[in-house]
């Protein structure tokens, strides 16, 4: 059953069809949100928000567009909002150097599978570059799909991806011999 068929079913009143859409797309969305935001709590909030907005606005989905792209459009915006909110929170608190020094460096448990240096490299990217890099090389969207999801033109996206790749390569080469 295609995504478009499931959407039609939901609009006809079969709310179980939305559960199927969630289960199809939650994994990829979770991965993107986690890689963008770096922590489970923010990621899950952004995911929750995205899926609920998708559900409420489902009648606005047009079948000419891949549902995944339509969903990522919402998710990209929610992650951007979450990142801005987090920056505001960070500015509000005095950083206790002792607490920071004694705090664990480990990221959330499930992402320890990711090499620490890879995580640091992704985190070190500018948010725009990180977003473009993840959509292109992790979620494997086409540039046209990325343009729909981000609202950014294809040329600008290609530039962001290139800069992200250059920076990643440089960061990773620092740690280990990453060949070209």
């Amino acid at each position: 059953m295609t995504d478009a068929t499931l959407v039609r079913r939901v609009l006809d009143g079969d709310t179980a069809a939305f559960t199927m859409l969630v289960d199809r797309h939650a994994a990829a969305c979770t991965r993107f949100a986690m890689r963008m935001l770096g922590n489970r709590e923010d990621a899950e909030d952004a995911l929750q928000d995205s899926f609920l907005r998708a559900y409420r606005s489902l009648a606005r989905y047009e079948e000419r567009q891949a549902f995944r792209t339509w969903l990522f459009q919402i998710l990209v915006n929610r992650c951007r909002t979450a990142a801005v909110r987090r920056q505001r929170r960070q500015r509000m608190f005095l950083v206790d150097d002792n607490a920071v020094a004694s705090a664990s460096v480990q990221p959330a448990a499930e992402s320890t599978e990711l090499r620490a240096e890879l995580r640091r490299a992704i985190d070190a990217l500018d948010p725009d570059q990180r977003e473009a890099f993840l959509l292109k090389h992790v979620e494997l969207l086409s540039y046209d799909e990325m343009a729909e999801a981000t609202g950014v033109g294809v040329s600008a996206l290609k530039m962001r991806v290139k800069r992200a790749c250059d920076r990643m390569q440089w960061l990773l080469r620092e740690v280990s011999d990453v060949g070209t």
Partner: protein, 223 residues
């Protein structure tokens, strides 16, 4: 501009970043609950909040917001102030011939002293998940020959060891008081391993598993 073939390092990085990040079951459950409550989409509807920005909490107000959210946890909102806050009472009756060996007596009381707060608006249901809304309900039975009595029901996940009754040596009665949320609860007594409904309480109709259960209502309001 055509995309050059990816260098090997980029393929490796992409593969690694593409590792699945688990979707937490609790997150999924919460989402589906929210979906069930959400505005239902209908074909032709032009509702669209995909890009609506909720007002950001201004920096200066965050501490106020945090304190307010903590206060909300402690607000107890239920029950009219009428004396009928202790509305649900099941009085022991004589039992039919099939239960002559035991004299059962179960009584539940709503202790209004646990509850203060504003009168709920009419029509609100009994249902509430907030622990702060709970009332003390007393279960009591007279079973002089029993050596162990516990309570099982929807309020303790049907765990037969979680809620033992205590024997009052002066009266010979088995008693337990529980803090239960408002609503309809289904329960039974387990007396030395045998499951018994409370014959003095309303019965639940379903006997899917062979024996009937009893119903206790908490927070019943007189209209």
């Amino acid at each position: 501009m055509s995309e050059p073939d990816n260098p090997r390092w980029l393929d490796e990085v992409g593969d690694e970043l593409r590792q699945e990040v688990p979707v937490r079951a609790a997150w999924r459950t919460r989402l589906l609950e929210d979906v069930a409550r959400a505005r239902r989409p209908v074909a032709g509807d032009d509702f669209d909040d995909r890009n609506d920005e909720l007002p950001m909490i201004p920096t200066a107000s965050v501490e106020t917001a945090v304190a307010a959210s903590r206060r909300r946890e402690r607000v107890i909102v239920l029950h009219p102030l009428a004396g009928i806050a202790a509305a649900v009472v099941f009085i022991a009756l004589g039992v039919g011939a099939t239960l002559t060996a035991l004299s059962w007596h179960a009584r539940t009381l709503a202790d209004s002293s646990t509850v203060t707060g504003k009168t709920p608006r009419p029509g609100t249901t009994l249902a509430s998940n907030a622990p702060a809304d709970r009332e003390v309900v007393r279960f009591e039975l007279s079973a002089p020959t029993a050596s162990r009595v516990t309570l099982v029901g929807s309020f303790n996940e049907w765990n037969p060891v979680a809620t033992p009754l205590q024997r009052d040596s002066s009266t010979g009665k088995w008693i337990v008081s529980l803090r239960l949320p408002p609503g309809r609860h289904v329960y039974a007594f387990v007396v030395d391993g045998d499951v018994k409904a409370d014959p003095t309480a309303p019965r639940a109709a379903d006997d899917d598993f062979g024996s009937a259960n009893s119903v206790v209502l908490v927070g019943g309001r007189a209209s």
